[in-house]
Symmetry: C2
């Protein structure tokens, strides 16, 4: 399986730092998630049932009832490739890795493109799969552009799959109003914006025949009963949602400014994370981890993704960590300027390690 | 998808009886499930992680660490048929229907047998899949017999899959001590004995290569974080487990006696349900449902399964329901004794309906 953010147990083991001492910025989850109340015992005891109110709450929140609840978007990501015979799937080169992994596993061909190549290659693929806004780069496409691509795909029986896991803070950019048009599949999740990643609840929106196929493929009781209850209540809590949207936008802006103040220039962002390419991303990730700060390192794109700190204490810990590694960054940048000089001085080795 | 017990929302709709007014005996779940305490918020918020203590707790409870946690045994039931090329699968004719459904969907051939035919047909199948003890008939096979069948299957690359969903009250009959021998797969679940069907937590036990394949097939984060936490604690609560075993055995015996007192003779049982064949099973199911008592009707075997009442109030409601339909049963038995007489009297029509 692929590596992901959130592996705090593994990080604790590797760096010898207790789990509770970490500042975990390795995920793009809202660190102040929807507050879960105590639950009635029967949601644990009984088999979960459909149409218990969850579907209706989701239809109201998302503005479409052409939906199927799934055990996290991951569940849909793994299942969609089973519903087409082998075909060509286009994706962004830097995007959420589980998508490519899932289509490749089922024998499909996956082609990866830069954002500005999509317009040229749209007629060469059967499925275009985009994360919008994209994780981790923050790239996003307007709904009108996506609809144009969907139309061109649909004339050849193709699909446009849009993973909107990070769309909740910018619902005006969603393609959900287009659901029902041929070939459009949209994935949503309560993991990120609602900060309920542990619940494993997501939704697939599509045309009815596709939803019926997915439902049959996934089988009964895919969501835990308590997860149905909690996600239903979170989707209904419009006051919390409005407040969270404002707070996340504010905190993401603050995070970008904090990183810049310490010499790290974000390349892209959403309301839930800042992302930056950096030639020494691996060394920075390691240096921060040694100080108990876990961000997410993407080796292939040599980049780092930072999620939002939860509290002032966490913000201060991040700032302190960034300050102490500033010399590391400085050294890295300095050494890049002199690539031909091989140094083995103790001072440089120390900086490299810590 | 197949029909199942637990469909109280659907029954409430069909019979016009409010959800809270039903006595739901349609499942084989412990009606006094493990008491779930309040949970820490972080299990909702963070992505679930492996080896958080759940795997260790399960290994201690089941006595084997060759396991993979899955989102309910249903998840394993649906996935196992993907891990073999098309083959012949033997099952009992009357058993848990999801197994046959899952293997047929993936193109396998499913042959169904009576229990006393198994010994003769073992060499004609590639996979023998047994629910032990069987749901709903209560039939069970000794571990030594199962091991003999496993050996004969394994010499030809075959598998013995044993679904032990109802084994927790009789752990001495489990084949888990044989895990690691070739071809043996065992499914367990916390849904029934622990009464935590809403959590969607089960375990697959098998050889390591099989577990690795299953893990890759199922992907990451298959269990909800709160479900991991709750099931870990339930598996560790040995005092509750001992008390539950005694209580369930007592209550199942009482249920059998209660049914017999009212003219319904159980054909088989486990600690969690009583099962009876009856030529008028459908009419009895309907007559009880009209009185707000939901049992499970199996049309193919013309049988009924009764789960355990949770409280004295529920026992009394069951007894009252059985008493008022006694005239129905009497009429049915009476009319069976006179098959050639077609009656259209108002009294008989009334009995047939209610």
């Amino acid at each position: 399986m692929l590596d992901h953010g959130g592996g705090i147990l593994a990080a604790a083991h590797r760096y010898g730092i207790a789990v509770e001492d970490w500042l975990d910025l390795s995920t793009g989850l809202n660190p102040r998630g929807w507050p879960v109340p105590e639950l009635p015992a029967n949601c644990w005891q009984r088999l979960p049932e459909e149409n218990d109110g969850l579907e209706a709450a989701a239809a109201a929140y998302y503005g479409s009832d052409a939906l199927l609840p799934v055990a996290g978007s991951q569940s849909a990501i793994q299942t969609l490739p089973l519903l087409r015979s082998r075909c060509v799937v286009g994706m962004l080169a830097t995007s959420y890795a589980e998508h490519a992994h899932a289509w490749l596993r089922r024998g499909h061909q996956v082609l990866r493109f830069a954002p500005d190549e999509l317009e040229m290659v749209i007629d060469r693929v059967n499925v275009l799969l985009l994360v919008n806004p994209n994780n981790p780069t923050g790239w996003h496409a307007p709904a009108s552009q996506l609809n144009n691509w969907r139309e061109r795909l649909a004339t050849r029986g193709g699909w446009l799959i849009v993973d909107e896991a990070f769309m909740d803070c910018t619902p005006e950019n969603s393609v959900l109003p287009l659901i029902g048009t041929p070939g459009l599949v949209v994935l949503r999740s309560i993991g990120k914006f609602f900060g309920l990643a542990g619940a494993r609840v997501g939704f697939v929106f599509a045309w009815q025949e596709m939803l019926a196929q997915l439902r049959e493929e996934l089988g009964p009781w895919t969501l835990a009963g308590p997860a149905r209850r909690v996600s239903m209540a979170a989707l209904q809590d419009t006051a919390w949602q409005e407040s969270a949207r404002l707070r996340l936008a504010h905190d993401s802006t603050r995070l970008g400014a904090t990183l810049r103040q310490h010499g790290l220039m974000p390349t892209g962002s959403t309301a839930l994370f800042q992302w930056l390419r950096h030639p020494q991303a691996a060394a920075l990730h390691d240096a921060l981890a040694r100080r108990g700060i876990l961000c997410r390192h993407f080796a292939e794109s040599s980049s780092l993704r930072f999620g939002l700190p939860a509290s002032e204490v966490d913000w201060q810990k991040l700032v302190a960590g960034l300050m102490t590694i500033r010399s590391t960054i400085g050294w890295i940048q300095d050494s890049q300027a002199r690539p031909h000089r091989v140094s083995s001085s103790p001072a440089n080795d120390g900086a490299r390690d810590g």
